[in-house]
């Protein structure tokens, strides 16, 4: 098809004048623009992960709603419990006011919302891709295994940060807002960076570890079941054991490990009925979990790249 244009013979005026018409070539044009550097592929994958999480209400929005509710309740508690004492003791030995312990105590609740996200999204990511043949799709293009790993991790971190960082930050902001005077506000400013640290640590843990489980099994449902069993059952078991024997064992329970670091940052003691988990064990546990998870995902994805394309004929 070619472009057709022409001045028309205008019957009204009897002269070849203004009227023109054109038919445009809808055919295909070669793409001559630049191509993005392959090193930016992870961003595309991360964005896609976030977009697909937002698509269905049950995938992410529900957990996000849950986090919003937690934030609201925590905020309400801070506003209406001005002088009440908490059962958590400070490292220096005196009791704390509820208004100050709400934030650190809320972290474990945000972790629960994070767990919901891992159930609806995180623990099935890699298994789902294996089952649907997505790796053939990815690796027939200029995507490298580490782009995939980093992209998925970044995407999950972005989602979880909305819960595990944004929520606590709002509560921290509220705490600062209800300060008695400017001096107290300045004294309390450190809670902001502490919130960021614990939020970041929790985000990384709740993003990476479920991804690792999703890479363990080639089947979505099995991966999910394994993750849930590990987090809930195995976690509860080691926590109970940790109460009666070495506290370090309880550090294997992920939410409690996060809680331990929170208490350490905010200078709080465990209640006597809780397992007394040493900080070093908690840090080691989380770090170990994340490293193993990332290694698992990398291994599976590399394997998929080698076998995925080309088929079995």
């Amino acid at each position: 098809m070619t472009e057709l244009e022409g001045p028309g013979f205008s019957p009204e005026t009897g002269t070849t004048e203004a009227p023109v018409g054109a038919i445009h070539d809808l055919g295909y044009k070669r793409y001559l623009g630049t191509r993005r550097d392959p090193r930016t592929r992870w961003r595309v994958i991360a964005r896609e992960q976030v977009a697909s999480a937002w698509k269905f209400w049950w995938r992410f929005k529900a957990a996000f709603g849950l986090a919003a509710i937690i934030t609201a309740i925590a905020g309400g508690m801070m506003l209406f419990t001005s002088d009440r004492k908490s059962s958590l003791g400070r490292a220096q030995g005196f009791a704390m006011q509820l208004i100050d312990t709400t934030l650190p105590e809320s972290i474990i609740w945000f972790c629960r919302a994070g767990f919901v996200v891992s159930l609806t999204i995180g623990a099935t990511v890699v298994a789902s891709d294996v089952q649907s043949g997505a790796f053939t799709f990815y690796f027939a293009r200029s995507v490298k295994p580490h782009h995939y790993v980093i992209g998925k991790l970044a995407g999950m971190c972005a989602l979880l940060a909305l819960i595990l960082v944004a929520g606590p930050l709002v509560i921290a902001g509220l705490r600062l807002g209800v300060s008695d005077d400017v001096d107290q506000l300045v004294d309390l400013l450190p809670i902001l960076w502490k919130t960021l640290v614990i939020g970041g640590v929790a985000t990384l843990a709740y993003a990476a570890v479920p991804l690792g489980f999703s890479a363990l099994m080639p089947n979505r449902r099995n991966a999910l079941a394994l993750w849930a069993a590990y987090y809930l059952v195995f976690g509860a078991m080691v926590y109970e054991l940790g109460k009666v024997s070495s506290g370090s064992l309880a550090a294997l329970d992920l939410p409690r490990a996060v809680q331990t670091i929170t208490y350490a940052l905010f200078d709080l003691n465990f209640r006597s009925r809780d397992a007394q988990i040493p900080v070093a064990a908690a840090v080691a546990s989380l770090a170990g979990h994340v490293v193993v998870a990332v290694a698992l995902v990398s291994y599976q994805v590399r394997r998929a790249q080698r076998t995925g394309v080309g088929g079995a004929s």
């Binding site: 623009g33 191509r35 993005r36 592929r41 595309v44 043949g133 053939t136 293009r141 088929g311």
Partner: protein
């Protein structure tokens, strides 16, 4: 002159004691190239090497680029339509193709436009917003083709593209494929076991067996020179034997191959007119006539058998 599509120099790939590709030397060029060979001949290994996904010994160049070092760049310029299912769950065709384009380096808006264009071309205009999980086999094959086209590849590797399609859909898919070089300016490497498909759309062929390339050239070369205009195959409405007898007396040598077909070797200086005339006199209706050519299937078996 631009570089040939694919150049292989002493290409070797070993998996432990198994040699998947053995010292392959070949230049592959053409519009639509059929990649043929029995199972285990090394076709999928060759593909993986060409896409730069596995290490190899020797030389493999696609569009002038070395597969070992420029794998990513090759994959940006090459499209692949796999045999197996390769989708992401919960996506519509448009979303998948846009994602595909972005993953090949196109900016998002460009990827979106080209995704739609590719889906129009593949014939999925009406259903492109629906989730792929709801598609029939034929539609899934079309999506696979579209996602391979989005990023404007210069070569398209198609792996059994007519798999599972009913005859009408198979026809339509082959039409799409045959049109691609002209409409989209890309060459096609078609890997398939269905040799009549190759006969229909390909102009070149590469035959592999036991990890070696046994033939690389045009279909005409494969089938041998045209058997001369005097070697014919004739189809009649009925009474092939009778026609054979009549033609024999006219100097042609004939062989009856079925109740309605026969092979005719015309004598010197005779043309097809001899057949028509004798058929007319014998009251036999001629329904088909053509120069005898080896089918691609026969040629393929010959090449494999020789090796």
């Amino acid at each position: 002159m631009t570089a040939p599509l694919i150049e292989l120099g002493k290409l070797t790939k070993r998996y432990g004691s198994i040699t998947a590709l053995a010292d392959v030397d070949a230049t592959i060029d053409g519009n639509i190239i059929g990649l043929l060979g029995p199972n285990g001949a090394g076709k999928s290994t060759l593909l993986k090497c060409l896409l730069g996904l596995i290490p190899y010994e020797g030389d493999a160049r696609v569009l002038g680029l070395h597969a070992a070092t420029s794998g990513s760049e090759i994959r940006d310029r090459v499209g692949y339509m796999p045999e197996q299912e390769s989708f992401l769950t919960g996506m519509s065709a448009v979303e998948l193709c846009t994602y595909a384009g972005e993953l090949s380096g196109l900016p998002r808006s460009e990827a979106m436009q080209r995704a739609h264009a590719a889906l129009y071309y593949a014939g999925l205009e009406e259903k492109r917003y629906q989730p792929i999980d709801s598609y029939s086999t034929g539609m899934k094959q079309r999506v696979k083709l579209a996602q391979a086209l989005v990023h404007d590849p210069e070569i398209l590797f198609l792996d059994e593209p007519t798999n599972g399609l009913d005859p009408r859909s198979r026809d339509e898919m082959l039409e799409l494929i045959a049109d691609l070089p002209a409409r989209r300016n890309c060459a096609i490497v078609l890997s398939t076991h269905l040799l009549p498909d190759v006969e229909r759309v390909c102009d070149h062929a590469v035959i592999m067996h036991h990890g070696r390339v046994r033939f690389a050239g045009s279909i005409d070369e494969l089938r041998g020179a045209r058997g001369g205009d005097r070697e014919l195959v004739v189809e009649v409405k009925a009474h092939a034997q009778q026609l054979a007898d009549v033609l024999a007396t006219a100097g042609a040598s004939c062989e009856v191959t079925s109740a309605v077909t026969l092979e005719v070797d015309l004598p010197e200086s005779a043309t097809s007119e001899l057949v028509f005339r004798n058929a007319r006199e014998a009251g036999i209706q001629v329904r088909g006539l053509g120069v005898r050519r080896e089918t691609v299937e026969a040629a393929f078996l010959r090449v494999i058998g020789d090796s």
